[in-house]
């Protein structure tokens, strides 16, 4: 039996989460008395295989087919590889692309799927820990099967290290080209604006707690007083209140300033992914159970409309 970890790469780079998969995959394999196999599909698979050859990996399957991710190719390939490698568990990152193929694989195999795993246990059947309700609660989800497709949250397990002695085995799937109904035609980078928030030492980030566009004034005033730059969570940008280049998070910018002041931001995982490398994180939020307080160094549990003007005054005075 094997645990199969399917790596992710984009535009020539293996993504860091792929190496984290190997750590959780090894833990699972040990507990299940299985081998750990990695698989990498498309692109420069030999180079990727070299990167994936870390301690604890027993075999690496390389699938030399096309350059970039295509969900039809991935789904067909991994379905066949599961059979060939006698896999009982498939792991892949809980990324935008992971979520574009793993659910289809699970459906085809008729295996249960659990996405966004933050912890796992197999001592008494598979139990996966995941967050619910925007991270306010956590739950253990029991999987009623010996098989599962799991997508793994980034940053929860360390990257596997060392040099492995995995065998590298090319795998040639039988791809039904007629069943490929989507074609990647290109990539596009979100345009840069006049401000680069990644360059700023101090960021004042505003979230949906600000309620109305005109209330952004108090945030601008605070940022001015502090000599800081204004950043935002996604809803502020979705609403068109601030340009896209101010968005912090998974689909925005990755920032690591000296000070990150989060105002009226709940701390959803996709937001935190873009700012948890900040030196000092301070949160102002009137909900004491908001997950932002889990990553904050300092917090004020209070109404932002009370705290922000006071703080501005402190700096203007």
């Amino acid at each position: 039996m094997t645990v199969l970890a399917v790596a992710e790469h984009r535009r020539g780079e293996l993504r860091e989460e792929s190496l984290e998969l190997l750590t959780v995959g090894r833990q699972l394999a040990d507990a299940l008395d299985s081998e750990l196999h990695a698989a990498v599909v498309s692109g420069d698979v030999d180079q990727y295989a070299e990167d994936l050859n870390r301690e604890g990996v027993d075999a690496i399957h390389t699938v030399d087919h096309g350059e970039e991710f295509n969900h039809d190719v991935y789904t067909q390939t991994i379905e066949q590889l599961v059979g060939a490698a006698d896999a009982t568990m498939v792991l892949t990152p809980n990324s935008v692309n992971g979520l574009d193929w793993a659910p289809a694989l699970a459906q085809r195999l008729d295996w249960p799927l659990v996405t966004d795993a933050v912890d796992m246990d197999v001592s008494d059947g598979l139990t996966v820990t995941r967050e619910l309700y925007g991270g306010k609660v956590e739950g253990a989800v029991e999987v009623d099967s010996d098989h599962a497709v799991l997508t793994v949250r980034g940053g929860e397990w360390p990257a596997a290290g060392g040099t492995g002695s995995a065998t590298v085995e090319p795998f040639e799937p039988d791809i039904d080209e007629a069943a490929i109904g989507s074609t990647v035609t290109g990539f596009q980078e979100v345009g840069a604006g006049d401000v680069d928030i990644t360059e700023s030492d101090v960021l004042v980030a505003v979230g949906r707690g600000i309620e109305e566009e005109e209330n952004l004034d108090i945030i601008e005033e605070l940022a001015d007083a502090m000599g800081a730059t204004v950043a935002a969570s996604r809803p502020i940008v979705d609403n068109g209140w601030l340009p896209k280049d101010r968005q912090v998070g998974q689909s925005g910018k990755n920032v690591s300033p000296d000070v990150y002041l989060a105002i009226g931001i709940s701390g959803a995982v996709q937001h935190v992914a873009g700012m948890n490398g900040s030196e000092t994180i301070i949160a102002v939020n009137d909900d004491p159970s908001a997950p932002i307080f889990d990553v904050a160094d300092y917090g004020i549990v209070d109404d932002l409309f009370e705290v922000v003007p006071e703080l501005t005054e402190q700096f203007s005075g």
Binding site: L99, P103, R130, E142, D144, G186, K244, V259, S289, Q314
Partner: protein
Amino acid sequence: MKILVTVSESVDVDDDFEVSEMAIDERYLTYDLNEWDDYAIEEAVQIGEEIDDVEVVTVTIGPERTEEVIRQALAKGADRAVRVWDDALEEASVLDPATKARLVAAVAREEEPDLVLTGVQSGDYSFGATGVALAAEMDYEWAAVVNNLDLDAEAGVASVHRELEGGVEELSDVELPAVLTIQTGINDPRYASLRGIRQAQSKPLDVKTLGDVGVDADDLRLSLSLSSLYEPETEGEATLLEGGPDETAGELAELLRERGVDA
């Protein structure tokens, strides 16, 4: 052309709440239209405004309570709604994406839509998986996390942008019929007008049981169940500043100055 939109609820948990018996008591919960589904509805309604003969049908797997958000979808311009529920589902602690996909697919097989729009993720479990699972179940093409859609109904192709991590978008052409999972920001969802709200009351909302959609309750393979639910232990050591706003702001200002913050 027919567009099917999956509609679900978001669940907002009160600032102060308790977890008991593996659930959060109803009195701490507020339900609303799932944010991602709101964008999916808007996208469907806009397509209907641009091309002729588009019918927008919503489908929801949920108890009677969900009719509130279904009516919101109708008020925003969907033409009719289907809601599937059954006592057999009431007992499930987790409605997993595969089950939801199978039930939506049972409706979709009857409706035969050209396009299915779902949200990227639901507001309770946030699996982020139901749309793609549905596509596999239906043998439709698909694209996940779509933040731009250009539909060529004649040619049967949806040209989409898929929003990847780190400000990169993938441009793809997807053959219809297809399921697209819609990301926030793709459009500017409308508020329902008073007229829309009034009209929604008389739009068809069909309620179906498992039997009605041809699914045998014994065939429900609910493979996930909740074995515990709890408030996460805080990993960080956030120091909470205490006092009134003047005190906390004062303390914070001092703290910031220590870190070199000054205009």
